[in-house]
């Protein structure tokens, strides 16, 4: 019924991660600092900004 054949895995190096972050921030039309402030308030300026925060915060935050 379903298969995993259509799942694609993209491995990113540190440079790729930085590029992904830049692309996400560009889409949100926000800086990382602006997104952080919006997240702290629990309210984002747009839907795109909210989604961008999910991605960027996951890639820039320290692990553990």
């Amino acid at each position: 019924m379903s298969s995993h054949d259509d799942i694609q895995l993209e491995l990113l190096d540190e440079s790729d991660v930085r590029e992904a972050i830049t692309n996400a921030l560009d889409a949100a039309e926000c800086t990382w600092e602006e997104l952080q402030r919006q997240a702290e308030s629990g309210r984002f300026s747009s839907e795109v900004a909210r989604r961008a925060w999910f991605v960027v915060s996951s890639l820039v935050a320290p692990t553990g």
Partner: protein, 191 residues
């Protein structure tokens, strides 16, 4: 997936499209009445041994694939006081807006509210969102959808239960002992 074993999962997501795209909920190729977009981010847990969800967000959108209807977010250790697992209801609600206005929060919208849902361990999963769309007759499912959803949901519940037992081993041992199991803690087991 990045060099620090972190991963972002989404539909048609990638370095050049880091926010992914929206999935039309249709099996016939016709105009989908509802769309789903989701992002799921994974990280290693504190032990460095288990992959765990650090964030997830699911949004059901209208037929235009843009207008949000409901958003279900999970944010592990959020940067604000709101619950880790919560729902945002989009759109206008006169009653909710009056409530916000009367609380001196006229600048806020109903969608700004973080409605708690289940907490970290007992929050709904993606299968629950899909099932909601099917049971409410918003989408037409394929034959055998129940089994497919139940398999995924069962796996999710088992993972959550294992995590809960790791978090509360004494309580787990107590329940097992009360139901006839013999549980012995090894001297060098982690607390």
């Amino acid at each position: 997936m990045d060099p620090r074993n972190r991963a972002v999962i989404g539909y048609k997501i990638g370095k050049n499209n880091p926010l992914g795209e929206t999935i039309p909920f249709t099996i016939s190729g016709s105009q989908a009445p509802i769309h789903l977009d989701f992002l799921h981010t994974l990280d290693l847990d504190h032990s460095g041994e288990f992959l765990t969800t650090s964030r997830s967000t699911y949004t059901l959108r209208a037929e235009d694939a843009e207008t949000p209807i409901v958003t279900y977010d999970f944010v592990r250790e959020p940067p604000n006081p709101y619950p880790e697992a919560h729902i945002h209801l989009h759109g206008q609600s006169d009653a909710l807006q009056r409530m916000l206005d009367s609380c001196g929060l006229a600048e806020r919208k109903p969608a700004d509210l973080h409605i708690p849902v289940g907490g970290r361990r007992f929050r709904p999963c993606l299968e629950d969102i899909i099932e909601f769309c099917i049971l409410e007759e918003l989408v037409t499912p394929r034959e055998g959808w129940q089994d497919a959803l139940e398999r995924g949901r069962h796996e999710y519940h088992e993972q959550q239960l294992r995590a809960a037992v790791r978090r509360f081993p004494a309580q787990a041992a107590e329940v097992l002992t009360n139901t006839g199991w013999q549980v012995t803690r090894l001297p060098d087991s982690p607390s």
